[in-house]
């Protein structure tokens, strides 16, 4: 059973781990890629509703992990497949979640739930595997911590820094994956809840990657002699991450910086901008984003509940480069004088279209050029 803080109750059948879990209830409209969603650290603190009614069909496999474990607090679907059918599948999706302690509510009218969240906005909820007295459940939902003001990034970040060297693998003998570039530069990646495919993409375009904890100071990063710095995606509200923003402010101008998602928001803060919470966020793999520089539209993968307010940015200092065509939210900007750029969406996809891979090449080019200076 799912109980929302506004008192709404949705009945379903429990699968996965037989436990209760609290979180902000959000929905994702991607048709494919549930495993990547489960394991995207940006979902920590959130119970995820998938709008695709048939989930689990192709099971789960190690290659499609975006981190070591699932980070969603709970999963809500219309129907959970009782078998896994795919040549790459290693286990059933349900078992994958059960083993990692994630509860699932299936046979829920997810469309009604999504329409509710769309009109009322995302809200806290409790997924109670055993059910229970609705009133008490609603109470528990109300008493749970709200997303706003919560620093989840440091919670999900790595404790110690490490080197990453896996690259992009083809998923089929017929997938033409461009050869990996020789590692030629050193990128230090801040882990605010980083997705593996970002790291794979960085390695693929020729970076030697060192991942560092969210708390790492600018000085310690400089000490690693990076040719470029990457600011990762991550969960929750950017507002409380003032420490991170300060470090980034110090790093601007030292080396090229590329930020994605939370990284983009932190850059926004570092440049004196403000962030705000979206009513129900952007979570899906079909968002049209206009690249105002090339005037081309990219179909992009999204997962963010907060956004940077373009009016809060000093536009003589930064140039707004990407706009969401659905609701005109800011999806990317770059510094006018310094080698700094970022996007709010997910060019690494996983899940989602590959239209925006070019941004990783842009990052490399930025490093090359600034190297020559």
């Amino acid at each position: 059973m799912l109980a929302l803080e506004d008192g709404t109750i949705f009945e379903g059948r429990s699968f996965g781990a037989p436990k209760d879990s609290l979180g902000e209830v959000v929905f994702n409209t991607a048709i494919t890629g549930y495993q990547e969603i489960f394991t995207d650290p940006s979902y920590s603190g959130q119970i995820v509703v998938l709008t695709n009614p048939q989930i689990g069909n192709y099971g789960a496999n190690d290659d499609d992990l975006e981190s070591a474990r699932p980070y969603i607090e709970g999963l809500i679907v219309r129907e959970l497949s009782s078998i896994a059918s795919n040549w790459r599948s290693e286990e059933k999706a349900e078992k994958f979640l059960a083993d990692k302690g994630i509860p699932v509510a299936a046979e829920i009218d997810t469309r009604a739930l999504v329409r509710h969240l769309r009109t009322r906005g995302v809200m806290r909820g409790i997924l109670a595997a055993q059910g229970g007295d609705p009133k008490l459940l609603v109470e528990r939902a109300r008493n749970s911590p709200s997303m706003a003001g919560l620093d989840l990034a440091t919670r999900v970040s790595t404790q110690s820094s490490y080197a990453w060297n896996q690259t992009v693998q083809a998923c089929s003998p017929s997938e033409p994956v461009a050869a990996q570039a020789e590692p030629w530069c050193h990128v230090v990646a801040y882990d605010y809840g980083i997705k593996r495919n970002i790291l794979r993409r960085l390695v693929h375009v020729g970076a030697r990657v060192t991942v560092v904890p969210a708390q790492t100071t600018a000085e310690d990063v400089i000490a690693l002699k990076p040719d470029g710095i990457f600011l990762s995606n991550g969960p929750g509200d950017p507002e409380p991450l003032q420490h991170q923003a300060q470090q980034v402010r110090k790093l601007i101008g030292k080396t090229p910086i590329f930020g994605i998602c939370l990284g983009h928001q932190i850059l926004g803060l570092a440049l004196g901008g403000k962030t705000y919470k979206l009513k129900f966020g952007h979570r899906g793999a079909n968002h049209p984003v206009l690249n105002q520089v090339t005037q081309k539209v990219e179909i992009t993968s999204h997962n963010h509940g907060f956004a940077v307010d373009p009016d809060s940015l000093n536009q003589s200092e930064v140039e707004l480069t990407h706009i969401n065509l659905n609701d005109q939210t800011l999806e990317g900007f770059r510094h006018r004088s310094e080698p700094v750029f970022c996007v709010q969406y997910h060019p690494e996809a996983a899940p989602g279209p590959h239209d925006s891979h070019y941004l990783f090449d842009d990052f490399m080019k930025l490093i090359k050029d600034s190297g020559r200076r």
Binding site: P53, V114, A349, A350
Partner: protein
């Protein structure tokens, strides 16, 4: 990049007649394109030979030509209209091929017409299988090994190298015509010869088999700025080896991870860019090896396709409309998404439901054709169902098919299971279910079908649930169990059978338990944004999104899946009903389940319910909408079968009362009515046993015509020449007769058949819209014979009699709206064959010919208006017969080429899939154009082969003479030859098959006969005749099986010599007609 202002007039080419592999999905796409361009201020010129289409309505384009889709006639249209551009991508393969032909004939250059949508190079790169493969390899995409051959020996050599089975695919044919799978040398010979012959470029591709791989399709759109999106992914339930058009397909794809799906997405975009389709929609097909994920690209269609229509309906994204806008320069992000209003069309629709498409086949109409499925499309129609889950969608899809028998009542044979599972066939899905019921395991079934385990598991769960439900009864079933059943799509009917209570009891119970259907919206965005378009499907979820209005409203029941005898003509009428309702200030509500049609376009009606046409589903909608009336007389037999049950359930049916409709269908009651009216009909009787039938036949005298009651398209109707035939029929017919008696009529030999469409209002005023004289005599189904407006050979008094009968019948049946009557004229006497108080197959044709919108007026009459109120539409004619200004011939189109080995002789059972219209100043001209459009162009020289039965011989002489006068040589079988010689004609005698060689068949194969006139000698059983007719079809030699048809072709040949190539637009014709009145 906004719209182009350097072009003003755009020529759109339609797809011609409905044929297997190219059906009304192209009316849908063409109509959308016309609307979109016109709305944007372009002047639209349209050419399409199919009168039964919405796109050829005079108000859709500015200049509408119902003319042959041939280079000569298209050039004439271009010469007159001087379009700036030609949009080649919305009229299927036909339009694509004609566009290429026009370009290569230099016509486009000569008149400075720019090809938009796809350029010739791109079309060729995509359509020429070999160029395509090279292009794909160039961009690193995998394709099956293959070689292009233009002779049998090379084919055999290559096959020996790569090993059998091999796939054969002729270049430039649509729907896989002439293709196939060869498992051995003989099959290779047979298929290859046919394929080479059918390919306009005499090339066939022989290809490595990837049978059993997973098959997928992506629908892609791209604009001039190179923005590209995937509208929809489709997964085939039936693995590679079954044509996508014959496969059950599912959207979105169900068994691909994101990585795999994105690999496919990347590949399709690279494909589009390499082929150079710079704007519009394309369809890319892939196969994936379920063992290791190897992916090959099967083909790409650089145009809007059957699958695009499906994808549009499945997602709510109007591919054809947007393709047209992109072709004139718009960018995807400059076009709004109609459904959300706020977001742009430049996004990828996401689904929170599952869509299942199931094809409908009609092998039973083609005795001699093996009901097996392969790489060549055989289905005549399809249904689509939308459900919140796959199970629900599949179950809905199955009942949308209207197979006549509820799934539970189907007969399966345990011994046939392996056979029915191994070789794909129309019954395979049923047998998969049955196999599970019989205890087969998922692994066993997967082993021999290669159907993905995920699909099989879903079906297994459906079977298990029914077994569970079988254990309880209507009284003991729990609310939860019943709800689960409904959520999984099980119908009340099925539950009623399971529990032996009938569906009504089940409905009652579940309503008591508060288990009622709700409606969800198709919104392109999985509810992320608000939907402003009421495009709905039913489910048993928790919230109803229907939001019905409180306006005056009328619900229209559509005609379901296309099938022979009930096709696009009825959808045409339903669409017009909808337009008319809106014009008369009513809200129009459409209910239909056919994804190919215009009626299921979300902007045809105010509200669209994509639902099966069953009592249960229609009542669910009725309960929510509470319309003021329901229209059942436009959708053919499908809604008519629902009329009485609906009326019984308190649904207000408007127009002719269902009881009267029933009276007209019920031969006994109708016979009595005719007696009262003193209107003659062929002597007849009805029987429920073989003996009774024979007794009646003896009384009437042979030959007799036997048939079941209540079917459309002369289903299972035969001419019996003796008792044995009657008995055999009684043994076999029962299945179809659905517990209704078998009807027996005296068969009127060599009688002239007449079709009449009429309008009648509640005061009994009757207006006859058209009296159509058939070319073929009675005995050839009205849907299968050519007919002409105005009638050519009928005396004044006969015409008066027909008018008189029609008017009295309409009044006697209290017809309000449309009525169709068929008469046979034998020795100057007029007999009524049947009366259908409903819209008929000929309504669109008559509307186009007369310029009077019959369905629109009919709707007005149903709403209580009077005929007199429509003077402005009928040009003041309110009684009598509407005049026509030209000669209009409607000719049928047959799918025989798809069913090798089937006897093409025409009979009382309808077998044509579509029709064309020819316009001319004289009959010969109109008939010649119609034949050309129908794909059986008459020769302008060469040898005419004649063989006629005795009572045709007299007529044959005069016809042969005409051909001789125009320089044709004559050949004939002995009897006929003797006769012609006697009449002083030079004629070459030809052996019949059993007489020696070279015989007629040899000559046909050798290509030395250009036209065959071969009338049957009574019962259609002489193998000799069949051999000749079959060969003619196989070798594309026009084959005429009736003497009247022969006479018509003679006149056509004369006209071809005498009259210049000329064309008329409907708009001109209708002006002429108006003046004539």
């Amino acid at each position: 990049m906004p719209r182009r202002n350097d072009i003003h007039r755009v020529l759109i080419i339609g797809s011609g007649p409905i044929v297997i592999g190219q059906a009304c999905e192209f009316d849908y796409s063409g109509a959308q394109a016309c609307k979109a361009l016109k709305a944007d201020g372009y002047e639209v010129v349209l050419i399409n030979s199919n009168p039964a289409t919405i796109m050829t309505d005079p108000n859709l384009a500015d200049h509408t030509y119902i003319e042959p889709l041939s280079v000569e006639f298209a050039e004439e249209v271009i010469r007159i209209q001087r379009p700036d551009a030609l949009l080649s991508t919305v009229g299927g393969q036909t339009a694509l091929n004609l566009s290429v032909a026009l370009a290569e004939a230099g016509v486009l250059d000569r008149y400075g017409v720019e090809l938009i949508g796809a350029k010739v190079e791109s079309i060729k790169k995509a359509e020429d299988r070999l160029l395509f493969k090279d292009a794909m390899r160039k961009i690193g995409l995998d394709t099956p090994q293959s070689q292009l051959v233009n002779n049998v020996d090379d084919g055999v050599a290559f096959a020996n190298r790569i090993g059998y089975p091999v796939i054969l695919r002729p270049s430039f044919t649509m729907g896989g015509s002439g293709g196939g799978i060869a498992y051995n040398r003989e099959e290779l010979h047979e298929i290859l010869e046919r394929g080479l012959d059918l390919s306009p470029v005499h090339e066939v591709l022989i290809e490595e088999s990837v049978l059993g791989w997973k098959e997928f399709e992506l629908e892609v759109m791209r604009d001039l700025a190179d923005n590209a999106i995937i509208v929809c992914s489709i997964e085939n339930f039936d693995p590679m080896g079954v044509h996508t058009g014959d496969s059950i397909t599912v959207a979105p794809a169900q068994t691909l991870t994101d990585r795999e799906y994105q690999m496919m997405r990347d590949a399709s975009l690279r494909c589009l860019r390499e082929i150079g389709v710079d704007t519009g929609g394309s369809n890319v097909q892939f196969a994936i090896n379920p063992q290791d994920g190897r992916m090959v690209i099967v083909e790409m269609n650089p145009r809007v396709s059957r699958s695009s229509a499906l994808a549009s309906k499945a997602t709510g994204f109007p591919i054809a409309k947007i393709a047209a806008k992109l072709a004139v320069g718009y960018r995807l992000d400059e076009i709004k998404n109609d459904i959300t209003k706020v977001t742009p069309a430049c996004f990828e629709p996401t689904l929170d439901y599952v869509v299942v498409k199931i094809p409908r086949w009609q092998f039973e109409k083609f005795p001699g054709a093996e009901p097996v499925l392969g790489t060549q499309m055989k289905s005549v129609g399809e249904v689509m169902a939308i459900g919140r889950t796959f199970k629900q969608a599949l179950a809905k899809g199955i009942r949308s098919l209207e197979t006549g028998k509820p799934a539970a009542a189907e007969k399966f044979d345990p011994d046939l299971i392996p056979k029915r599972l191994i070789t794909p066939n129309p019954e395979r899905l049923g047998y998969v279910r049955f196999a599970f019921e019989q205890g087969w395991t998922l692994e066993q079934i997967h082993e021999i079908t290669a159907i993905d385990p995920w699909f099989l598991r879903q079906i297994r769960e459906m079977v298990d649930l029914e077994l569970e439900l079988g254990k309880v009864s209507l009284d003991t079933v729990s609310r939860e169990q019943l709800l689960t059943a409904k959520r999984d799509g099980i119908s009340d009917t099925r539950l009623g059978l399971l529990w032996k209570t009938g569906s009504r009891a089940v409905r009652k119970k579940r309503c008591e338990l508060g288990i009622t259907a709700v409606f969800n919206r198709v919104d392109t965005c999985a509810a992320e944004f608000e939907s402003f378009t009421p495009y709905l499907y039913s489910s048993y979820e928790s919230e109803n999104e229907a939001a019905p209005s409180d306006r005056k409203k009328v619900m229209i029941l559509g005609s379901g899946p296309n099938r022979i005898g009930q096709g696009i003509e009825f959808d045409y009428c339903c669409c017009h009903a909808s337009f008319a309702l809106q014009e008369f200030g009513y809200e129009s509500i459409m209910v239909n389940c056919n994804p190919e049609t215009v009626s299921t376009d979300y902007d045809t009606s105010d509200r669209l319910y994509f639902e099966p046409l069953t009592r249960e589903e229609v009542l669910n909608i009725y309960d929510v909408e509470k319309p003021d009336g329901v229209i059942v007389q436009f959708g053919g037999q499908t809604p008519l079968n629902l009329a009485l049950p609906l009326k019984a359930a308190g649904v207000p049916i408007i127009g002719t009362d269902p009881a009267d409709i029933d009276l007209a269908e019920d031969r006994k009651l109708f016979g009595r009515l005719l007696d009262d009216l003193k209107i003659p009909s062929p002597p007849n009787g009805s029987a429920t046993s073989a003996d009774e039938a024979c007794a009646i036949a003896r009384r009437l005298g042979f030959p007799v015509l036997v048939r079941p009651s209540y079917v459309l398209g002369g289903r299972a109707m035969v001419i019996a020449y003796d008792e044995e035939m009657v008995r055999r029929y009684m043994r076999e017919a029962v299945v179809f007769s659905q517990d209704r008696p078998v009807l027996i009529d005296r068969f009127l030999e060599s009688a002239t058949e007449i079709d009449v469409d009429a309008l009648a209002d509640q005061d009994g005023s009757v207006l006859i819209a058209g009296i159509m004289e058939h070319i073929e005599e009675a005995g050839v189904h009205s849907g299968d014979s050519s007919c002409v407006l105005p009638p050519q050979g009928l005396s004044r008094e006969i015409l008066n009699t027909i008018q008189d009968y029609t008017a009295r019948l309409a009044r006697a049946l209290h017809v309000i709206g449309l009525m169709n009557a068929q008469y046979a004229i034998k020795d100057g006497e007029v007999f009524v064959l049947e009366v259908n108080p409903r819209a008929s197959r000929t309504v669109p044709y008559v509307s186009k010919a007369t310029g009077v919108p019959l369905p629109k007026i009919a709707v007005g009459l149903m709403l209580g208006k009077k005929l007199a109120e429509f003077r402005h539409l009928t040009g003041d004619v309110v009684s009598g017969v509407l005049p026509v200004s030209q000669c209009f011939v409607k000719s049928p189109v047959f799918p025989f080429a798809k069913f090798p080995g089937v006897d093409p002789a025409l009979g009382p059972e309808m077998r044509s899939t579509g029709e064309v219209m020819g316009v001319g100043e004289n009959f010969g001209e109109a008939f010649g154009k119609a034949q050309l459009s129908a794909g059986t162009p008459l020769p302008d020289s060469g040898t005419v082969f004649i063989s006629v039965n005795d009572h045709d011989k007299a007529a044959a002489v005069e016809i042969a003479a005409t051909f001789a006068d125009y320089g044709f040589q004559l050949a004939a079988t002995r009897g006929t030859a003797a006769l012609l010689k006697a009449a002083g004609l030079a004629v070459k005698t030809v052996f019949k098959v059993n007489e020696g060689r070279p015989n007629a068949v040899d000559l046909l194969k050798a290509g030395s006969l250009k036209l065959v006139i071969y009338t049957t000698t009574g019962s259609h059983s002489f193998s000799d005749e069949q051999a000749i007719r079959r060969t003619a079809v196989a070798y594309r030699v026009p084959c005429i099986t009736t003497i009247s048809g022969a006479r018509a072709s003679a006149q056509a040949v004369v006209s071809a010599r005498r009259d210049p190539i000329r064309v008329w637009s409907l708009q001109e014709i209708h002006k002429l007609a108006a003046n004539a009145r």
